[in-house]
């Protein structure tokens, strides 16, 4: 959902870095991380990015999306596990006190420039 807003945010964040001189050169690609637990659909984000980047500093740049798996650690028994279905409890001890350690990312990792 709202992948347009996310794509627009990616463009505006990179534009801000260019204005600040942190990123110099012509952006060729942006690498982002999208966690499995974020409400963002990678294919949709990719599509929206090509649309919203037109006429901006990121026009023509590739969007490279790294999907991050959802993992959690049980605070009761310490076991780590993948979250693949909506039951947020430890598969080992059935404890409900878990800490999500990956999968909620929505991050710009880097910009490739020429």
């Amino acid at each position: 959902m709202h992948e347009v807003a996310i794509a627009e945010n990616i463009v505006s964040e990179v534009a801000r870095l260019i204005a600040a001189g942190t990123v110099t050169g012509i952006p060729r690609a942006v690498r982002v991380q999208v966690g499995r637990l974020s409400t963002v659909v990678p294919e949709c984000l990719d599509m929206m990015f090509s649309v919203v980047s037109e006429g901006t500093c990121l026009e023509g740049a590739r969007l490279e999306i790294e999907v991050v798996p959802a993992r959690a650690v049980c605070q009761v028994c310490g076991g780590g596990f993948d979250i693949s279905q909506p039951a947020f409890s430890c598969p080992e001890c059935s404890g409900g006190d878990i800490r999500i350690v990956s999968g909620t990312e929505l991050k710009i990792r880097s910009v490739e420039v020429a």
Partner: protein, 230 residues
């Protein structure tokens, strides 16, 4: 990442939602300074969010001075209902023809400019009716209440786990309708599904029609505020 020979990679490591996160933190500081406890109220369209706020207002917030920010894609109907009960309300319209599906911190900050924050104890931010998008966006809340009505079905926590996990309290609404749902709805299963997806959330069962659970809701608001602001 594939690279041309003459290109280089600049490390950025920024949250895409950095701007909203910073605005949310600024909101939190501002509201705390004014002594206002902020509750983000989310739920499906028709879950009973506005009705819960009306019930709160009718009880005079149990002594807590209330304010509200309402968000909707179109109309100011929710704001009108709450304003009619004497509660200061600021309304956000996210766009009449299918615009934003959630509220963001920036919009909430601007709406708060129209509210007498220093004369308020609790600010309810009623989000757009939606169980997906608001999950991602922090508006500067201290707590989140998710309203789910018995008519939505006991499987919803499993279908929208992230929304339910983001809640501090899950309010099961319209419980007076349970007898009319007969075999189509299993309250125990809804309780279990909420527990399964978010064992840490408080769970309340409310009917604004009969008044059941409204005391418990007000008590939760008071306790949550005290925990945060003292």
């Amino acid at each position: 990442m594939t690279m041309q020979e003459d290109s280089k990679v600049v490390s950025v490591e920024l949250n895409v939602l950095r701007a909203n996160d910073e605005a949310a933190e600024a909101n939190r500081r501002r509201f705390a300074q004014a002594g206002v406890f902020v509750i983000d109220v989310m739920g499906s369209p028709g879950a009973g969010k506005t009705a819960l706020l009306e019930a709160t207002a009718k009880r005079g917030g149990d002594g807590l001075r209330c304010g509200a920010i309402t968000g909707d894609v179109a109309t100011s109907l929710d704001a009108d209902r709450i304003a009619a009960l004497g509660v200061p309300v600021s309304h956000i319209s996210t766009g009449s023809f299918g615009a934003d599906c959630h509220l963001d911190a920036e919009r909430v900050a601007r709406a708060a400019d129209h509210l007498p924050l220093r004369e308020m104890d609790v600010l309810f931010v009623e989000n757009v009716g939606n169980l997906v998008c608001p999950t991602e966006f922090d508006v500067g809340r201290d707590a989140r209440a998710l309203v789910i009505s018995v008519t939505e079905g006991e499987d919803k926590p499993l279908k929208y786990p992230l929304a339910f996990r983001s809640a501090d309290v899950v309010v099961i609404s319209k419980v007076d309708l349970t007898p009319y749902l007969r075999g189509a709805f299993n309250m125990n299963r809804l309780r279990m599904n909420i527990e399964r997806v978010n064992p840490k959330a408080e769970r309340l069962e409310v009917s604004v029609q009969t008044g059941q659970g409204v005391d418990a809701w007000l008590a939760w608001v008071r306790m949550a505020r005290r925990r945060r602001l003292g």
